[in-house]
């Protein structure tokens, strides 16, 4: 199973090149929230994207283009980049498997606000209903580039993007489709921001994953898209291969709706299943892109799971959480972090978390804190979500 296209947009910027430079340097992209009022919230920062005014040429009408909101724009930009790189043509059916937690929720908020405040005013309400739904940005993507394939939306909270890629991987591997466009997207919105703030999960300062003094996560937004296909299909087109996906594991943590089991049993099960599927032992993994949200509980649980999973290898195993740079992208996180793994495999470097000052002593592994070149042949990416959705993906360098 090979990856022949990757597109990404985060607060670091638009596209592979800009993001690779940012991740390699450990750049952070946090700033005060401007999209909605956070004056009465505990946290006031996020990794917002400055969306470009220009979009690639599409088949969308002017009316539809005007109605594009943040999530749809991000998805469109990331998908276009991946699509262009893959060299695919739209004639064949193209299954899409995407992950998101809230789609275009800001429109849902607008709908409710108007319904409550001016109940007799129905102006634009139907449009809001139509466009806020999670499938809407993906259907717009179909129209934009004439994609015809079936669309599957997985909403497993913060593991959505990883589960989407995992399902796409299984779809191609089992022969149910020769190619799949997959990834995740999520835009910042007030409901989600206030939700995480209500749980006191948001840090008032930029997040510091795996730091002993960590004090919560920082939200971000973005989209990342991959084109997966069989090796035979890629070779037939003489396509450039960015890397391979070779393992996917998923498990459910039943401990609590928002808190992981302290021992990280499901995280361990997901990593083990992904490696078993890939036919690898932990000793063969060169880098782990951790879920690493920077909440005290998540990082403690994940540390415990990685320590157990890696065993003796842990002492020399490089681990980082790139949420230190772009925040937590929720439904897009697993997809963006998959692209980061591909970047590391392609560029032979490790993405540092430069905000880390005092490594949590519970981490028996090597936390990547400085930009560094390294031999990276195998990378594993973890994504864990509310509700206990745990997913791990394994990627291999293409030589």
């Amino acid at each position: 199973m090979v990856i022949t296209g990757a597109g990404i947009i985060t607060a670091l910027g638009r596209g592979w090149k800009t993001n690779a430079a940012g991740f390699r340097a450990g750049t952070t992209a946090f700033r005060p929230v401007t999209l909605f009022d956070v004056s009465r919230q505990r946290a006031k920062i996020a990794a917002e994207i400055d969306l470009p005014a220009d979009l690639p040429a599409t088949r969308l009408s002017g009316n539809k283009l005007r109605r594009l909101n943040r999530a749809a724009r991000m998805l469109l930009l990331a998908a276009h980049e991946a699509w262009e790189q893959s060299g695919w043509r739209p004639e064949e059916p193209l299954p899409m498997v995407l992950g998101t937690t809230s789609g275009e929720m800001s429109l849902g908020q607008d709908y409710l606000r108007q319904a409550l405040h001016t109940p007799g005013d129905f102006k634009r309400q139907a449009t809001r209903v139509a466009y806020y739904q999670v499938q809407s940005p993906a259907l717009i993507l179909c129209d934009a580039f004439d994609f015809q394939g079936p669309l599957t939306i997985i909403s497993n909270a913060c593991a959505s993007g990883a589960n989407a890629i995992g399902h796409a991987f299984e779809t191609v591997r089992s022969g149910r489709a020769p190619r799949v466009l997959t990834g995740g997207y999520d835009a910042l919105c007030q409901l989600t921001f206030a939700g995480f703030d209500s749980l006191q999960a948001l840090a008032p300062t930029p997040c510091r994953p795996f730091d002993a003094q960590r004090n919560g996560l920082t939200l971000g937004e973005g989209a990342a898209v991959l084109t997966l296909e069989t090796l035979a299909g890629a070779k037939k087109r003489d396509a450039e291969i960015l890397g391979e996906i070779i393992g996917y594991g998923a498990a459910t943590d039943t401990h609590h709706l928002t808190q992981p089991h302290p021992e990280g049993r499901a995280a361990l099960a997901a990593m083990n299943a992904a490696c078993a599927g890939a036919g690898l032992a932990p000793e063969q993994v060169d880098y782990v892109n951790a879920h690493g949200t920077a909440t005290p509980q998540n990082d403690a649980t994940e540390s415990a799971a990685i320590n157990r999973w890696a065993g003796a290898r842990a002492r020399h195993l490089p681990v980082s959480s790139t949420k230190a740079g772009i925040g937590h992208l929720l439904g897009a996180a697993g997809a963006a972090e998959a692209v980061v793994c591909l970047m590391a495999l392609r560029g032979q470097w490790l993405p540092p978390a430069s905000s880390l000052t005092t490594p949590d002593p519970a981490c028996q592994f090597q936390l990547v804190r400085q930009p560094v070149d390294a031999k990276v042949d195998i990378a594993l990416s973890n994504s864990f979500g509310f509700g206990g959705a745990n997913a791990s993906l394994v990627f291999r360098r293409w030589l």
């Binding site: 956070v38 009465r40 505990r42 088949r59 059916p93 998101t100 937690t101 849902g108 709908y111 409710l112 319904a115 409550l116 109940p119 007799g120 309400q125 139907a126 209903v129 139509a130 739904q133 999670v134 499938q135 259907l139 179909c142 129209d143 004439d146 994609f147 015809q148 394939g149 079936p150 669309l151 599957t152 939306i153 997985i154 909403s155 497993n156 909270a157 589960n163 299984e170 089992s174 149910r176 007030q190 409901l191 206030a194 939700g195 995480f196 703030d197 209500s198 998923a250 498990a251 459910t252 943590d253 039943t254 709706l257 928002t258 499901a266 979500g385 509310f386 509700g387 206990g388 959705a389």
Partner: protein, 336 residues
Amino acid sequence: MSAVFIHGLGAVSPAGWGVAALLGALEKNQPLPVETLTRPGWEKKLSVRSVPPPLSRLDFLSHPRLRRAGTLSQHTLAAALEALGTDAAPVQAGALRLGVIVCTMAGSVAYSRRFYEEVLQEPATASPLIFPETVFNAPASHLAAYLNSPAINATLVGDEGAFLQGLAMAAGWLDEDRADGCVVVGAEELDWIIADAVRLFRRSAVYTGGAGALYMKKQSSARTVLSAVTDSFSFTKSQNRTTAARKVRGQLGEGRADELLCDSETDRSVWLDWPGRRLSPKTIVGDSFAALSAWQCVIACDEIRKQHCSCASVSVVGSNQQAIGARFVSPESSDL
């Protein structure tokens, strides 16, 4: 797709809690009574059908996870547990790996509305107890927690067709040996905000909540087999609803005189020449996105189980995303 047995069925609907109540309503062939729901600040009432209270207290509500769980989760659990039947015990004992797939379109709208209303009033004091319940996968998580099931779990969000996509995903998991059995639930809940939104698109719609569930296994003595799920045909600029529905028809086949069609009352023109019997639960119970398509499948399977027909096709032409179909047969069917 390999054939998969439908080992159990479950339903919660405005007809009551359980498959029997749903089937009873269908048998009477009379639309269930319509009630009205108040939309704050608006003098007109919304026409809806609500799920009646359960006849006895739901046992699962005593589980610590479910004390705050909303209606959507309650519907999900009730339908799933009915479908699982005695297999719930081996799942809880860790002897059976159960894949969980919950499909929904609107999700937990009641809690989402309530939480955002709190945010609008005072974001600094919005309830941390409500927010986690707004997440789409809360019902799937609660179900897995109640069953103590650590196996793979997914929530699919989309229009009515998502439930049939869930069936195909479950069949894939069983093929890949990710689970020994899979329960697929289509669930929705009733709230004024969603009934109001539906009314903007379909004036005559009578919205309701509920859930339907199919429990699938590779090996079973069950009388029903899922033999096929068609491709999902998305509604796009170059493929409208009717074209998509025709493609589903093309994959399901012409139909036979002894074949039931359980449809969604949309794009009926595509099915005008269907040679067999037809059932449309929507006319009896109302509109309910993923729950409705789940009820269609429950009814189709039950008809085969009771040997009222040897095979049944389900056609779903969704609200805004896709047309998709499924075919169920008896294990003795030559179509397998």
